[in-house]
């Protein structure tokens, strides 16, 4: 401001160098903070995926969650009824090709099918206009937690104790005590039994989304796939196989296509869209948007679903994300998982070899 030093004095020179050093330092530190290297407390996608690996081991080449699954292909037959709420081309009358995947939760691709009561259905609709709709749904109406931070805490609580190889019951209990929002999920889990078939399950979007109509009007929605098959399941489970879901699916598809109805539930004003632990009241209007027809199944190692990241925020025009905080976290974490498994597939340096079975 009132620098008395002449232009070439040593003091002025030191000041100039200090200014240059400060400019570089400020830029570098800001970059480090925004990129989280200098903000270690921030929950990042990498931390979430690391925690999955801490809990179940690293199975190179596989998805870090819902690792065990099979590919399916078929089409969605839109009936036009959802068109008044969403401009998405998939809701027009007619067929949209679908590449999907059935799976069970967990990071272990060798887990027995009976080990968890949850099944999942992921779909990628390839719209004629080149846009895509990807969705990952689960066979339960609510998610245990509402935020990525709570989900991370849940994963940490469930990390196996090195001494016993099992999660510490005290830590799990402490987590549930600290998270009363898990009550609805726990009530569901108490009565849920591992189903004998992917075909007889309903699959819920869990998160809310927003339909956008031709006038730009926004309607919060949730959806679920409701099966036409309602029987008790085939004989595959009784044969004692740990992989009965894949054989049951193949058996059923050999007899003919399997169908689900896409049920869209419309929120009333005030229904929470940012809380996947809460269902909406039963009387909310539901429309049948069309029929999902699955025709073929293939193993995931060679099938067309292998290289698809079922990121729930790959959405076509006419469907938008809601304010549910789990959605961006799912999108970000799935991207990290996808990069890890494709890097392993590419044998990039520093990645685990895809054949390694670090089964625990």
């Amino acid at each position: 401001m009132h620098d008395p030093a002449p232009p070439d004095s040593p003091a002025r020179r030191i000041g100039s160098w200090a200014l240059i050093a400060a400019a570089v330092a400020v830029a570098a530190v800001s970059f480090g903070y925004v990129g989280s290297w200098l903000a270690p407390q921030r929950l990042t996608p990498a931390k979430l995926i690391d925690q999955f690996q801490h809990n179940a081991g690293t199975f190179a080449g596989y998805r870090r969650n819902h690792a065990k699954g099979v590919c399916v292909t078929g089409y969605f037959d839109g009936n036009g009824q959802a068109q008044m709420y969403s401009t998405a081309q998939v809701f027009a009358r007619g067929r949209t090709p679908v590449v999907g995947r059935f799976a069970i939760p967990g990071s272990n691709p060798y887990a027995p099918d009976g080990s968890v009561p949850i099944r999942s259905m992921a779909l990628r609709f390839a719209l004629a206009n080149g846009q895509q709709w990807r969705t990952g749904m689960n066979s339960m109406p609510v998610f245990p937690v509402a935020t990525p931070q709570a989900f991370y805490a849940q994963l940490q609580a469930q990390q196996p104790d090195p001494a016993t190889g099992k999660p510490d019951p005290a830590k799990v209990a402490a987590f549930f005590a600290a998270h009363p929002e898990t009550a609805a999920f726990r009530a569901w889990a108490k009565t849920a039994k591992p189903s004998a078939s992917f075909a007889t399950e309903s699959y819920w979007s869990l998160n809310a989304f927003v339909f956008v109509d031709a006038n730009g009007k926004r309607q919060p929605v949730r959806w679920r796939m409701v099966p036409e098959a309602t029987d008790a399941g085939s004989d595959a489970e009784k044969a004692g196989s740990a992989n009965y879901l894949a054989s049951d699916l193949a058996e059923r598809l050999a007899r003919g296509p399997l169908r689900w109805h896409l049920q869209i539930t419309l929120a009333n004003p005030g229904d929470p869209t940012n809380d996947a632990t809460k269902t909406w009241p039963d009387d909310r209007r539901t429309i049948d948007a069309g029929t999902l027809v699955l025709e073929r199944t293939e193993p995931q190692a060679s099938g067309p679903c292998r290289d698809i990241n079922y990121d729930p925020l790959v959405l076509p025009a006419g469907i938008a994300a809601s304010d549910d905080p789990l959605l961006p976290a799912r999108s970000a974490a799935y991207a990290d998982s996808y990069l890890r498994r494709t890097s392993e597939e590419a044998h990039l340096p520093g990645t685990a070899a895809p054949s390694a079975e670090t089964k625990r």
Binding site: P7, S16, A23, A27, P45, G130, N309, A329, A346
Partner: protein, 178 residues
């Protein structure tokens, strides 16, 4: 018309400062979005893709301007090593500002993603779907981003060195005042 040889053309200066802001913002958006699980991840990603394509278009325009209007010469008394560093870093910057958006676009193509610039504006894929190519391009996108940020730091430091310490007219040739 002596001034014309001592400063960059108006087009070059406008492009430089506009793109400086865009590229710096882009680098922060990029590292911020991949390190976030919050709603920031989504809105930063929504800016990242169209901004990247805008940078690609401007970089092509800028390269044309640069080739048509050679920049003012560096001071004659500048040491040869510094001249070489200036020349190499400038062409590295041109390479990266063209390569980064193309790698990003190719990487999404290889990953099988629709390349959406908005809710309905979609670019065609420029690379066949391949998980191996996706992984390589995705890592390349990060490494080049780090290289671009380091080159930016060196560029900024060098510009301040010229402006504050050498006071040789190099910085003012881009500021546009003598």
């Amino acid at each position: 018309m002596k001034a014309a040889t001592n400063t960059f053309t108006l087009a070059a200066r406008v492009l430089h400062w506009l793109m400086a802001v865009m590229i710096l913002a882009m680098l922060f958006i990029g590292v911020g979005m991949v390190a976030s699980v919050s709603e920031r991840h989504e809105w930063l990603l929504a800016i990242h893709k169209p901004l990247g394509i805008a940078i690609l278009v401007l970089a092509v325009v800028r390269l044309t301007v640069r080739l048509r209007h050679p920049p003012p010469p560096l001071p004659a008394d500048l040491p040869a090593l510094q001249k070489l560093a200036a020349l190499a870093s400038h062409w590295l910057l041109y390479f990266l500002m063209l390569a980064m958006p193309l790698i990003g676009w190719a990487m999404l193509s290889a990953g099988g993603y629709p390349v959406m610039l908005g809710t309905s504006l979609r670019l065609p894929p420029i690379f066949p779907a391949s998980p191996v190519a996706f992984a390589v391009l995705r890592h390349l996108h990060t490494w080049f981003a780090m290289l671009l940020f380091l080159t930016f730091l060196a560029h900024m430091a060098a510009a301040l060195y010229h402006g504050l310490i050498r006071r040789d007219g190099v910085l003012s040739s881009m500021l546009g005042r003598r």
